[in-house]
């Protein structure tokens, strides 16, 4: 392990720009990522609201976008998915909270490569600008969905938005991949090399395990997506035929020959499935951390949790074909992918059992972070249990590409992951900003968001069973969809309320930043290293000294200890191990 003095070569910056804009401090960079994700989530949410309005009032003329044509709806859908997956679900839990708290939780003064860290944020920012720019170029944003299946995504003549907008979409994702690769390297190196004395791997908080495995997934997955994106750009602009066979679009023979549309799907999902875990693993880490803290009880089965995270990471790379059961891929390989997918359900179930085990015979304090962590578990169960339906190729025959899938992934990688972000926000806000968030507003936010998201996404399963295909901009063409319109209406009303209440969260966030009551160094009486230092932490995190770790991360209610928690740095004399 490198010593902290050699690593933390840069002194605390003085000027505004070096301190807040081009900062090398992992804490500032973490907050920058967080606010980028906050802007992105509001853009993404606004797009989804427009979609929901259009579905039930197809002729309505809407602010900012005017009349919603079928291609406008598909652009909204594409940009909603892309922005949410990349700039929210990948950015906030990993790059945001991971950046801020991974170094502090392992007792390091900063990330291993601070300059690389700054670069990865600003490159992510650039990617976001490129993505948003797609709305404003001629033809508008692309309509090929966040999965960008070729040939639709590879042929500029295949539809409006498939010209410059689609190029910007691919370029933005490629830039994002570069930034994520840099971030992943930094996370992995930091965790392996900069742990404080006594911080063995099995004393790491589960958040650190989750960020670490997520970084490994990112390192292996984003490289593949980057290559896939470059090939797509070549197909689009230089006449290559990686993904496009001989096709005739609207009577015009295109110049491509011999490419494979399934190649894109294989490459995309080789990234795309691990990406699901990139989005949710940090949330699992946060849920474990918060549940243990507020249950005042050690996490149930710490080692099982670590092995489950590893198993999910490993199996996550062997299941991508389950997105392709209906694609024309060999039906024999479907059988293999299906078994692997069922297998990945096992470590996910272990985690759920262990969370319940943590709550069993606990003494639960219901602060906002805990409410969201419990909500996370509930949503994780609900979203997870539709997985074994979709993992069976034979059930994909009725369910694939219907709202059943939309409901499944929104509950688990959308809303559950967002609940992880909320839990993390309420939990770490005092440490990050030195003030407490308002508890009453936090509760209102929790209850309405929990009920609201269930009201939006649970009915999607019913629609899917009834055969409602996803990505339909109007529900008037297929006769059997008519009976389902009331369900769509219900979901739109629920979306209005749920989205509305998010402004309470944002108000709470900014109001508390300046007006909240001052936070103590350890308001939740938690055990991990971030709670041993000042609030907010000084530039080098621990004010010139390096913590020495003597205990595991979740020593609550230790018999014989003077208080109901033993911090990781407490002297060994305390009864815990």
């Amino acid at each position: 392990m490198a010593t902290t003095a050699t690593v933390h070569a840069h002194a605390a910056p003085q000027g505004f720009i070096r301190k807040y804009i081009f900062s090398l401090d992992h804490k500032v960079i973490g907050i920058q990522y967080y606010f980028l994700a906050l802007v992105a989530v509001f853009v993404g949410m606004f797009l989804s609201l427009l979609m929901r309005i259009h579905l039930i009032w197809p002729t309505a003329v809407l602010p900012l976008v005017g009349e919603i044509k079928p291609e406008t709806y598909l652009s909204l859908l594409t940009m909603h998915g892309t922005i949410m997956v990349f700039f929210v679900l990948t950015t906030a839990p990993q790059s945001g909270f991971g950046n801020y708290f991974l170094p502090i939780q392992i007792g390091a003064p900063d990330m291993a490569f601070p300059v690389l860290n700054m670069l990865s944020f600003w490159i992510t920012f650039l990617a976001f600008v490129a993505m948003i720019a797609a709305f404003f170029v001629s033809g508008g944003a692309p309509l090929h969905g966040w999965t960008g299946y070729a040939p639709l995504s590879a042929l500029p003549s295949a539809g409006p938005g498939e010209q410059l907008g689609a190029d910007l979409w691919v370029i933005s994702i490629a830039i994002f991949c570069v930034a994520s690769l840099m971030g992943a390297l930094n996370f992995i190196t930091t965790l392996l090399d900069l742990r404080a004395k006594g911080m063995t791997l099995f004393r790491l908080p589960l958040t650190c395990w989750a960020w670490f495995v997520t970084a490994i997934l990112g390192l292996l997955a984003f490289g593949v997506l980057l290559s896939a994106g470059i090939l797509l750009l070549l197909d689009r602009n230089l006449g290559t035929s990686f993904y496009v066979p001989l096709v005739v679009v609207n009577g015009q023979v295109m110049g491509h020959k011999g490419g494979s549309p399934l190649l894109w799907q294989h490459l995309f999902w080789f990234f795309g499935h691990p990406e699901v875990y990139i989005a949710i693993l940090p949330g699992m880490g946060v849920a474990s951390q918060v549940l243990s803290t507020f249950a005042r009880k050690p996490i149930f089965g710490y080692k099982a949790m670590v092995y489950a995270i590893m198993a999910i990471g490993l199996l996550g790379f062997m299941v991508w074909g389950h997105h392709m059961f209906m694609s024309g891929m060999s039906p024999y390989s479907a059988f293999a992918f299906s078994i692997m997918t069922m297998a990945i359900g096992v470590p996910s179930a272990i985690k759920t059992f262990n969370w319940l085990g943590t709550l069993h015979k606990a003494r639960i304090r219901f602060h906002s972070p805990m409410l969201f962590a419990i909500g996370f578990v509930s949503l994780f169960v609900s979203g997870g249990l539709s997985g074994p339906f979709l993992a069976q190729p034979v059930l994909d025959i009725p369910l694939h590409d219907t709202y059943f899938v939309v409901g499944h992934f929104h509950l688990i990688m959308g809303v559950a992951a967002i609940f992880g972000i909320f839990a993390a926000t309420y939990y770490w806000f005092p440490k990050m900003f030195g003030r407490m968030m308002n508890e009453s507003l936090g509760r209102i936010h929790f209850w309405i968001t929990l009920i609201g998201t269930y009201a939006i996404f649970m009915p999607m399963h019913y629609l899917g069973m009834a055969g409602h295909p996803r990505r339909y901009s109007q529900l008037t063409e297929l006769a059997y969809l008519h009976d389902l319109i009331p369900v769509q209406q219900f979901m739109t009303y629920a979306a209005f309320i749920t989205i509305g209440i998010q402004f309470v969260f944002v108000f709470n966030l900014f109001w508390s930043m300046f007006k909240g009551p001052k936070a103590s160094d350890n308001p939740w009486e938690a055990t991990t290293l971030e709670w041993t230092t000042a609030t907010p932490p000084p530039h080098d995190n621990f004010g010139g000294h390096t913590p020495v770790v003597n205990h595991g991360p979740y020593e609550y209610s230790v018999p014989g200890a003077p208080r109901d928690y033993v911090m990781q740095t407490d002297p060994v004399t305390a009864a815990a191990h």
């Binding site: 096709v247 679009v249 272990i350 262990n354 639960i364 219907t402 629609l463």
Partner: protein, 268 residues
């Protein structure tokens, strides 16, 4: 707060489960030989997952209330876990998930591992932005050639798929915008796409398969009830994706023969 969590989580669980159990919305009426098998596997999975769902949510709500902080009355059990329990629930989950999967694989194998029977009705399905076309080989039993240069979507039918009329085998090919099939006979499908990926989705037949440019995908199913069934496109294919639908008319063998003969006659 613990009680509120119990009530809300249990209510959410109740309503979610109620609409599944009451079958308020359910799989559409199945009218093919595979429908009962697929529906059976769906029902089995639904019961297994339903039990786990209710148990897990029930326990979550219960624990939140039962183990709320009650001051000195609360006794925390200091425990780092229980290896026996971990092994037990890992094994049970593995058996449940893998077992379900194996039960379903038989149906999948019947659907997709076997080719169509020799006496099946050959039909070629072509997807393009934004229509489905269905081609029947005619009395010679052979599909004639097509040529991308001849494709003219605006002209519809034969011209839309670029049928090469200079090929003798193409002369008797019938191309229609509506799919006709005889009841109780297997259909031997060849799926193609002209421009981008489409997905041929007939909910009542429990049939779905992507049609991919550059590939000719062979599939089969057997309708067992006469009637009209809607065909949808299930893969995002462009701005008209939502209106890319068609109709499958399952009729008696006699009516099917009559329909095909009349289309042949129109061509002469």
């Amino acid at each position: 707060m613990g009680l509120a969590l119990l009530v809300v989580i249990w209510l959410i669980t109740f309503f979610s489960t109620y609409f599944f159990a009451a079958k308020t919305w359910w799989l559409p009426h199945g009218a093919s030989t595979s429908a009962p098998w697929i529906d059976h596997q769906f029902g089995l999975t639904y019961i297994a997952m339903g039990v786990v769902f209710v148990a897990a949510q029930g326990a979550l709500g219960l624990f939140a209330w039962q183990y709320r902080d009650r001051g000195s009355a609360s006794k925390v059990e200091y425990s780092h876990g229980n290896t026996k329990m971990e092994v037990l629930w890992t094994a049970l989950t593995a058996i449940l998930f893998i077992g379900l999967n194996l039960m379903g694989s038989k149906v999948w194998a019947d659907e997709r591992f076997e080719p169509a029977k020799a006496d099946a009705v050959p039909v070629e399905v072509t997807g393009m932005q934004f229509a489905w076309y269905f081609r029947y080989p005619g009395p010679d039993g052979k599909f004639g050639g097509t040529n991308p240069k001849l494709v003219d979507p605006s002209a519809g039918n034969e011209a839309a798929i670029g049928l090469d009329t200079s090929d003798p085998a193409a002369k008797d090919d019938v191309v229609a915008g509506t799919m006709y099939l005889p009841v109780n006979r297997e259909v031997n499908l060849t799926l193609r796409a002209e421009d981008v990926i489409h997905s041929f989705f007939v909910p009542s037949m429990r049939f779905k398969q992507d049609a991919v440019p550059g590939l000719a995908i062979h599939m089969h199913f057997t309708p067992i009830e006469t009637g009209d069934y809607e065909i949808a496109c299930a893969e995002l294919c462009g701005l008209g994706h939502y209106k890319m639908h068609g109709m499958l008319k399952v009729v008696s063998q006699d009516d099917f023969d009559k329909w095909l003969a009349s289309r042949e006659a129109e061509k002469q």
